[in-house]
Symmetry: C2
Subunit: 391 residues, 2 copies
């Protein structure tokens, strides 16, 4: 038994975590270079993108084999991806510069923005010069990592049980190139839970599968996707409580990313049940989040269940039209071979779709595999944002 209570201050809800940001001039007049730090180095676990062209900051962490750190520098507007050895050398130079300004221990970097452009090192150095390393402002950091995001994504909880208590907080950014195969664009989670080292990565991975890996904005997996989990180990720990709290942090941030998906007007959960196994349920659910015809039907508030069925059929999973059931929330439109879609059902299903957030249930009637994926609609605005987003 444990109790999870939302609290303020995101990643800085955890004692000993400092965070802040400055206006480095990459954005017009907003925060764009930020940091997270602690006095002592903290154990860190991470998950990175499965994109074969991993960005320089990802390669840097893997190359150095960083397991403990007391400093993360983050920037937006430039992903430092497809920048070759120079991209990594740029990070090394920046990290060396940083070490002259503040006490760092295995510092690392995390970047998001345009792919294929060298970092402006001098500008980053000037941003470092302006930093107040004693700031404890999670929100400023959350702003600094935003690209096409329209709001900051932050959350923190205090978890209490017989084992004692701990805190956990997270920030993330999303908006575009969102179809995480490992983790979403960028997410930073801090905690004071006394997690055994061997649990850190395992729990992060498990919770990631059903949160960040369950969302899609546009089906494109970025070069920079990263989730970091850091712990000060100053508080208590209980595995189930921590796993649940971490899941809630990650699900909240993942859904915020979908809610803030480029041009999105609706957040839709695709609940697939009755698949042959969980893997097939996930394939079907993710296919629904990525189908342009489904996404445009969501935008048009059109309960076009035929497109949902066709997408399931095209996804390659085991299915049978005599076992399939489709409902929009509680409005059943297709039931194992019977088309229940008359004008009354259409009106009710259309009512469901007018909501900002709703669920579509697809039961394959084959086995016990279940998975819920979260997606959004495809609007004119998405096209506008991405046709105009120039390098």
């Amino acid at each position: 038994m444990f109790r999870i209570t939302p609290i303020e201050n995101g990643i800085c809800a955890v004692d000993g975590i400092y965070a802040g940001a400055v206006k480095g001039g990459f954005k017009k007049d907003d925060y764009d270079v930020g940091f997270i730090r602690s006095q002592e180095p903290l154990d860190i676990a991470y998950l990175f993108t499965t994109n074969k062209f991993q960005a320089a900051p990802v390669k840097y962490v893997l190359k150095k084999g960083i397991k403990k750190t007391n400093f993360i520098l983050a920037n937006s507007k430039n992903a430092n991806a497809l920048t070759g050895d120079e991209g990594i050398e740029d990070i090394e130079e920046i990290m060396a510069y940083l070490s002259e300004k503040v006490k760092v221990d295995n510092p690392l970097m995390s970047s998001t923005g345009v792919i294929g452009v060298r970092l402006d090192k001098e500008r980053i150095k000037k941003a470092i010069d302006k930093m107040d390393f004693n700031e404890r402002n999670s929100n400023k950091f959350a702003r600094a990592i935003m690209t096409t995001d329209s709001f900051e994504k932050e959350i923190a909880f205090e978890v209490e049980g017989e084992f004692g208590k701990f805190r956990i907080g997270g920030v993330a950014k999303g908006a575009g190139m969102i179809n995480p195969q490992m983790a979403t664009m960028l997410c930073f989670i801090t905690t004071d839970a006394d997690i055994p080292k061997e649990d850190m990565r395992e729990i992060l991975k498990e919770d990631n599968e059903i949160t960040f890996n369950a969302i899609s904005v546009d089906g494109d997996t970025s070069t920079n996707d990263s989730v970091f989990l850091m712990t000060t180990r100053k508080a208590h720990y209980e595995k189930e409580a921590f796993k649940e709290a971490l899941k809630q942090v990650m699900l909240k941030l993942a859904l915020d990313i979908v809610r803030d998906g480029e041009g999105a007007t609706k957040t839709v959960g695709f609940v697939v049940t009755g698949a042959k196994d969980e893997k097939e349920a996930k394939i079907a659910a993710k296919a629904l989040t990525n189908s342009l015809l489904v996404k445009t039907a969501l935008f048009g508030e059109d309960p076009n269940w035929g497109r949902i069925a066709s997408t399931i059929g095209a996804s390659g999973v085991e299915c049978d039209e005599k076992k399939l059931r489709i409902s929009f929330e509680n409005v059943l439109v297709y039931d194992r071979g019977n088309i229940l879609f008359d004008s009354e059902t259409e009106r009710k299903a259309n009512e469901v779709m007018k909501k900002r957030e709703f669920k579509i249930y697809v039961d394959l009637g084959i086995g016990k595999g279940a998975f819920t994926a979260y997606g959004c609609d495809l609007s004119y605005e998405y096209v506008k944002i991405n046709a105009e987003y120039r390098t």
Copy 2:
């Protein structure tokens, strides 16, 4: 050695092929029910969708094991898909009715349109009543199968060589739900070439891989995709000549489908070379045609090569940023680790992208696998068409 000359009259360029259409009232005031027929039954080869929910007309052909036919009835506005046993019974009833009006031998049906709605049999019967079975009007038939298509897709060739000569003609429809896994939405090809039975399906399949299976409008594979090839066997045959002519027919129709893709303003060939093998080249090329970020960059005429690289990296194929090369036509923007993208290169690449049709070359520098896929941009119009297309 052989010569391929374009000729008029599409599928009716072949002697003995009749085709026509009537206004059945499914569309406001246009042809919507059509036929292709011959006096004697013809050998027919076909390829159908890999969507697990095959439409009733597809299931009907497979169930009957039709190998020879003298009649194809086609309709638009209703796909007769996800309609269960009733969908097949509806076809049987329509075919029985047809046999009272005209001499048919293993007649079959082909449908396109909305998924999950029963066919209006009575309306189809009334359309049959109005048909002039002695018409030889390929264009009318091509119009009858159009849905969101904006122009008819027809082609015919006469092929002449030392072996003698033959003719070949085709019609197709496309526009949406286009990511054929076996064949595109609907395509009908007639010929008088004296093809050995064992060659028919083999050649159709091979040519299909590099034509219809190489295109994508929206990444959605429909329930009805079908390609039919029929021959009267009245003329001559030579394998290489036929294979080439068939490829040209199919490529022309496939590219017409992309040109007429819903809301498309650009047709782009993604030429992938240097992949580990052909399979990986195809995966990478198709991934490029389906990436929303690439498609919106095409619409915005933005030479955002980072999105192209990222899509390749996310596609799962073997790749290495130090071996990768990317060019827009002859404008090289990224060369094996070197970013050549300065303002002059950007201007030139942007010039290329202003064209209605162009190619993007991606060399992976790994092996000898090559594949060219054809796609289009994603425009506001696509969203409009698909958000408003109601059941």
